[in-house]
Subunit: 215 residues, 2 copies
Amino acid sequence: MTGRGVVVLSGGPDSAVALYMAAARGFDLFPITFDYGQLAKREIGCARLVARRLGLEPLVIDLSALGRIYKGSTSLVDKSIPLTGEFTEPIIVPFRNGVMLSIAVAYARTVGATRIFYGAQKSDARFYADCRPEFIEAFEAAARLGTGAGMEIEGLTSLTKGGVIKKGAELGVPFELTWSCYGQGERHCGVCESCVNRKRAFREAGVRDPTDYEA
Amino acid sequence: MTGRGVVVLSGGPDSAVALYMAAARGFDLFPITFDYGQLAKREIGCARLVARRLGLEPLVIDLSALGRIYKGSTSLVDKSIPLTGEFTEPIIVPFRNGVMLSIAVAYARTVGATRIFYGAQKSDARFYADCRPEFIEAFEAAARLGTGAGMEIEGLTSLTKGGVIKKGAELGVPFELTWSCYGQGERHCGVCESCVNRKRAFREAGVRDPTDYEA
């Protein structure tokens, strides 16, 4: 064991790969996942299934009260804003990674972990400020100063989403258990921004996509 | 108006002064307060009363799920850990200000505020890492990078708790509506760490303490 780490799981493929990569490095892992009022509740179940494959049980933190903040600002929590296949401003949940990381830091302090893993990767960094290496560095500094303790925060920012899928396939990540779709169907819609990115990433990685898409 | 600001209210005197100071500077204010599983639920009602004095209604965010993280680590949320009059390790709620500030940043982005006020002051900085100026600066950097927007975070770190009370008295802060006690009584116990600090601060400020203490 190389120490304890907290992994922020979203139910999506990127954080699943972050979990498997950290496990392969021998960390004693404490996964955490969030209900932040997202419509895609299925994500939480997926995070659970992925963690259980490694014999871990994620701590599920109810942040649904955040839906009151985000309501009206993003289509992920407000049904009145239409979903689109392209990136649009309303899809941003402001500072979502900042909120999740801060709670992960609190959890880390409680269980004696000094490292936090999350699935931020290079393809998202283009659109999401809180997936960028400079944000991770700054947040790490704040986490150290705010806890008075050692704390390292690791994203997957050296990899594109395709690179993440490739790495995950090598480690045997059960991608069929992960969820990307922004919709609420039983299957991945195949047309929302997130489904489009998921399809493209498997294609780029040259990995068979096990996802059951509607379209 | 000099712009919009979010104020993190705790129900205590320090954040009440932060609110009144920001209001005196002409900010259009959006108070936010948190139920993070603390036993002193009364704090939330106090935050509400103080904000309403200025015609403001705080957004109350239910973070009680955090009680699951903190349980066993602090006497503020776990009745099995005894309260003491002196500072002791278990009273720290790890990275509590980091968690509250990150949600305040999300709220700020949603309402178009570029400034966050909270009641961190010099006397707390000795014990609480997340009340120190260097933490505030680092968190501000993370908030800017994580939102891709301007964001300023202001504490009261140039003032001691006595200085805060003095400033508040000048601004007419209704201290009788604020709550400091870590206990669950109807009145301030007068003997817990927080009551002891409250008493001392009024004494140092030379301000009449309107608090109804049990002892």
